[in-house]
Symmetry: D2
Amino acid sequence: MTNKKTGYKHSSEKQGMSDGLFEIEAKYCSWGDTVHYAKELKIFKRCDGNYLYDRDDVEYLDLQMWYSAATFGYKHPRLGQALKKQIDTLPQLACQYLHEEKILLSAKIAQNIEKTFDSKGRVHFNVGGASAIEDSIKIVRNHTKKNLVFAFMGSYHGRTLGATAITSSYRYREKFGHFGDRANFIPYPYCFRCLLGKNKENCNLACLRQFEKLFESEYYSIVNTKTHHCEFGAFYVEPVQATGGYIIPPNNYFAELKKILDRYNILFVDDEIQMGFYRTGKLWAIEHFDVTPDIMVFGKALTNGLNPISAIWAKEDLISPEVFPAGSTHATFSSNPLGTATGLEVMNLIEESDFGKIVPQKGKYFVAQLKALQRKYPQIGDVEGLGLAIRVEMCEKDGFTPNRELTDAIMNIGLSGKLTAGGKRRGLILDVGGYYKNVFTLAPSLFIQESEIDLAMGLFEEALKKGIAATT
Amino acid sequence: MTNKKTGYKHSSEKQGMSDGLFEIEAKYCSWGDTVHYAKELKIFKRCDGNYLYDRDDVEYLDLQMWYSAATFGYKHPRLGQALKKQIDTLPQLACQYLHEEKILLSAKIAQNIEKTFDSKGRVHFNVGGASAIEDSIKIVRNHTKKNLVFAFMGSYHGRTLGATAITSSYRYREKFGHFGDRANFIPYPYCFRCLLGKNKENCNLACLRQFEKLFESEYYSIVNTKTHHCEFGAFYVEPVQATGGYIIPPNNYFAELKKILDRYNILFVDDEIQMGFYRTGKLWAIEHFDVTPDIMVFGKALTNGLNPISAIWAKEDLISPEVFPAGSTHATFSSNPLGTATGLEVMNLIEESDFGKIVPQKGKYFVAQLKALQRKYPQIGDVEGLGLAIRVEMCEKDGFTPNRELTDAIMNIGLSGKLTAGGKRRGLILDVGGYYKNVFTLAPSLFIQESEIDLAMGLFEEALKKGIAATT
Amino acid sequence: MTNKKTGYKHSSEKQGMSDGLFEIEAKYCSWGDTVHYAKELKIFKRCDGNYLYDRDDVEYLDLQMWYSAATFGYKHPRLGQALKKQIDTLPQLACQYLHEEKILLSAKIAQNIEKTFDSKGRVHFNVGGASAIEDSIKIVRNHTKKNLVFAFMGSYHGRTLGATAITSSYRYREKFGHFGDRANFIPYPYCFRCLLGKNKENCNLACLRQFEKLFESEYYSIVNTKTHHCEFGAFYVEPVQATGGYIIPPNNYFAELKKILDRYNILFVDDEIQMGFYRTGKLWAIEHFDVTPDIMVFGKALTNGLNPISAIWAKEDLISPEVFPAGSTHATFSSNPLGTATGLEVMNLIEESDFGKIVPQKGKYFVAQLKALQRKYPQIGDVEGLGLAIRVEMCEKDGFTPNRELTDAIMNIGLSGKLTAGGKRRGLILDVGGYYKNVFTLAPSLFIQESEIDLAMGLFEEALKKGIAATT
Amino acid sequence: MTNKKTGYKHSSEKQGMSDGLFEIEAKYCSWGDTVHYAKELKIFKRCDGNYLYDRDDVEYLDLQMWYSAATFGYKHPRLGQALKKQIDTLPQLACQYLHEEKILLSAKIAQNIEKTFDSKGRVHFNVGGASAIEDSIKIVRNHTKKNLVFAFMGSYHGRTLGATAITSSYRYREKFGHFGDRANFIPYPYCFRCLLGKNKENCNLACLRQFEKLFESEYYSIVNTKTHHCEFGAFYVEPVQATGGYIIPPNNYFAELKKILDRYNILFVDDEIQMGFYRTGKLWAIEHFDVTPDIMVFGKALTNGLNPISAIWAKEDLISPEVFPAGSTHATFSSNPLGTATGLEVMNLIEESDFGKIVPQKGKYFVAQLKALQRKYPQIGDVEGLGLAIRVEMCEKDGFTPNRELTDAIMNIGLSGKLTAGGKRRGLILDVGGYYKNVFTLAPSLFIQESEIDLAMGLFEEALKKGIAATT
């Protein structure tokens, strides 16, 4: 059924047409966010565990969990409880005053990092990942006295102007004038589609060696070989490239990169916004890569999506009161008590859980199922996972040529809520990323059960079959 | 009592020393936010209505209400209830999908603006005021194809890099490198301290005439008199300058400014982040000034401090899907359902209340009391209010020379929690702003009662007396 | 007679029509320079002393002398001789090797400055005024670590991108993208048209006091009052504003300005490109103003227009080999021997002359004649001179409203070569500047005789009469 | 002999010590240019043909000819004559008026380009190569509305701030603040040291293919694949990389590059400043590569070093009066008549000569000699030439590892003037370039004779032997 006024197709009467919600949305909501990427709009009315429910009460198994913001499942009772408790005691407080939860949450995070990386530092809060990225840029600029940084091709660090300058897509900048601090974007080790045409098995990190070579002569543009100063103050890193398509670098990549950076005092900034909080089976994704970041940025799952609080952690010499004193930055809601209380409970939950054990197990199970499916369908070009961050790259029958059309079809079929399992009409929530918009970036709840993974596989195969049928 | 390790004085054993909270804070928390502006730290443990309570349960009458973020009072039961209800239904949802509250809140705001200003437009959400400011800059740049804007001396629009570039204080930029989009800062009509040395009564808006004159010759640097194009695409305006010291412009100032801007297609961006939501006695502070903004930015009281959601509204031709299509910007938490549900209840509350009537009355009462006090104490140089946005400018005995020392003393005395009223030990929460850090920017809850204003006056006079004694 | 193809009117058959020069020009020459500001093109074929000659051999008395580049007269025999001599010995030499004239010219200039200002420093060559300005910006940035500077409204420092950023007209920037280093433009003391509406006699430098006030509060946007650091590293100054209309500041203006700048370590950069070399009666125009610059920039008359060589002088601590070592900057032609040899002869000429005495005398005589004329013609709104830099501001009959139409008419009448004096057909070369393009900026040769000033007055009055007739 | 005050060694009494020239230079000259790269200063007093002469009248055979600025030989009598003739007729003229030579020179150049490339366009003058580069940037920005461009690693386009931003060496930017328009530097096809480790014979332009691949996905950071707009408006190209070490790209490289650029409307800007005017055997070096530039920039040899005039040529749609009207840019000396007259005579000389035939012959002869020498000395790693632009890359004995020490030694031995040939004490002028400062960039006069090439070979071998001895 198509709304005549908006030209949109909607899946159901109830979806917003009977009460005019779609008309209202078409008139008063900005379409500038990501809602209207989809051609068929969907209104959800409740959520629980791994599931979203639309206005017709159709159940959607969610394999993206708000791009990892709801890593610990929807409507987790204990986290809801912590939030409610704070609502009843200190729901509001200007951030120029202290409250206990802010202090304890900072300490828990900093102590954890100190233990893991043997590195002392401090935590600074803000709201939203992009604002925390901006704080990290401030730390970098203050320390290095440089505006410019390296970032990766395929990177996504947010959409404030400062974060957009270090996010790879020109599309995000095109309409918004000149960006005088545009990052120097370096190829990410996306081995399935190596820019250099190398083979991961024996490339000896060729892409990294090519980057390293740029430091050999001043004519390669990035370093004064006389002073050993680099034009770029930091390198922004996603340990697993998120929006870029859940790309997992070779084991030794970051450790080798860090060696180069250290030679030139280039800071290593680790963006954990999407991959932090056990998404990859460790609290921080960078833990897989044997490297100690200078700055870390995190958000999303920090409150499991219940408050936009975000934060950075930085090494003591970058953030001590001597170099980053009172008033260096500020945001009204930066350490808002509803956020810190929820974050604190997330940290408690983590401490009491065994995510470090079960997430890799679940991930392994999920990837094994997907690889089995891959053997049946050559259109699944690549499957790889780190913990419960799993990539499924959709291709032509040759298993390599990117197939965006098929990817879109599967995603839309899942979202239409017309799949069937256990005799019940169901939907499947998938998110698409990747350089060619052909990668399912799976980020299920860490509490997903094997039976639910099986359900996911059934729904995915059904959608895949229908998608192949629809696009060939 | 002084903490030997941190060098800080703390007002009480319980304040964080017995359980080591201050030590923990000193070690793991960044001091780069505004907490450590104060020399005596304070930990609060609960709040209610007009009051904050510290760990000794001392009651502090709050006259700043989280810089207006908690405009409708702490722990407002109905707003807490709305938030809890959402926690139990749809606490989380990726912003690429729709939920009812987002649509209804957008509509309520846009319809209100359409009615008030006879201007159609749309609402776009984000998190935190600064991020909404960044969105507004995107709208400006997209429409004007220009990076540069005007803003006011004394302005504060936030602390992301983009917002910092249009915020007047160089202190906020100094440590963070080059700002290639620094605004051109124009004098605000701060009549108590007129830059031109004019008298408000008969100046005929001399400062504005001086600005207007700059458009007469290309040599004044801002306009090509041949093409009538201005180098600056927008003018960022706080209808009442907030951090600048709650400065209220002459009635006709903005209408006259808008005439100039319209001649050169310069957009008028109205920053209502601190003054919106009836702080000044009208939903939007700009309503006092007979002018229709092109873009509005708001946040803080939109959720009464219960969620960092913020938003912009822009005229249809600036934000329609044709010019600001899907993917133009994005933030994970932009229209998070806990935020929209709370915002929607705030709008309901507003619709059912008579703030338009009672806020001016309360403001008038408060200002009258302060003016009476001014007659007793020449150190009160200026008192002025618009609704419940009230400025009290502290001076030397001459009633003019800024007296930052006295201002600080009074603020700290209030914060020490050692004032007395009704036989009870009490505190008074004051916020300091102004070009010379000598202005109390009073922003009490809109629900404050006359009796509480009387209490505030008593506490303020006590602190004032003590402050004068301590600084002379 | 009008060229049908180009649409241009030309004054004579010979002017380029008979041999097709105008057609060729219309086809192969960029019109982006200033030739086509004029509606009637003029081709000159020779020059001598104070005169230009067109292809019909009509003689034009030149009162602008290539905007001061030919300050010492056209085809000065001694300078031509020096240039020819160098052509015959060392006409070419890569600037990485030394030649005697470079060393001696540097020394002569630096010794002169040392004597005049009691300040040691060095000279650095480049080609063209704008490139020397760029060198000065490099010195400023290296010393202050800041990209941003102050400059004056009405300023002109050149048209490279860097110089354009500190030149006031937005028209020069409008088509060329974003300028991230745009100067902060401050009102020049243009007392005839005071932006503040003050009277020069009793204003007490009100405009400067207003600038000074901006340093009082960080909210005025330019200084961190805590660290006393200013956001702007230097102030670019034309001691007499040239393109701006030969505006002469009050005597004490720059000394007072320098006091303010010194408080905040803001460098004073003196642009002498048009006013240096005795144009104002002293070698450097800034000598009139009792202030020692930190950096000086000069060119044009340095070679009397015979070679584009230009240079900066900077105080030793800004330019010593320790801070500005080998390779800091470079230009192929920077100290080209034809340029240095000519410049050296210019300096010799100066040493042997009494310009310091005769230029003020001639200027006084010229201004007196013009003031007499002013009494006859109310359209001459303002006449003022410093040495032989003389401004004549053309107005409506009220003596104040700028009259660009009349100014253009007079200029074109002069250029048409149809005036008469001594029974001979003649032309008059005038240049127009000023904020409203209504100022004749007179820069005659320093060798002009009183009889020639009389001739100039006659021609000017004739053109003035005709101009008034044509525009009323 | 060492000057005690300056610490410099000088080769001779006469060299500036007896008359104190070195002391004067040490005191009053900026050392920020390239003179003090050398450890032994040299003062030259005359030049002729292929030779420079120092103050002891030692003769130096010059193989760099002012980095090609004196391509047609020192003190060429006919060019000197043309210059002198102009000194006697119209040596000076403000560039807002026309003179014949400007028109004729523009026409000669534009007609030549039209004939060679079948492309109509116009010529715009300025002074110095960097300023012409700035003009070209203005054309690019005006046409593309973009600030950013591509340039090559190893590129050198000048040292104004705008040119420095697109010149690869960070060393040139390091001390001068933030460069908001820094180019995106792409690897040049420097096949002797391929960044990709490929072999020129069978690489199939691998480096170009890698660049092309970046346009495939928006995540590679440079293009919006939806709109097909690229973030970069132009690509700045040296057809033979000059300062980079006279690197000659594969024949089909630029034609293939142009195809990619045309797909995305990226302008091709051809910097001929050093390689133009038959240095490579054709008037324009780009003629070797079967591609039509959109913009060309040239200078240096345009006047054979007798005047700093430079220019750009641009296609009609980029520079027509409609898009680049009067006043778009300006420089006092831009089309100064001494420059245009000399340039015109250079063009006459070219038309009457057979450089297109003799330069390749001489180049071939010279390269053959060098290759013979290479067979004797493994330290000569690479010899290659295009016309009389010849590279000799000095290495360790392995013939590959860059040997800067040896290169410096040879250069200094040549400069010391203590070589011998024909029983006469002689010097040899060599210039060093290259990514590792180990390349002799030979640019002899186009009038060099085979006997002089033989002489050069003798002197070079002598210096080479001594250099090897001194560094091993």
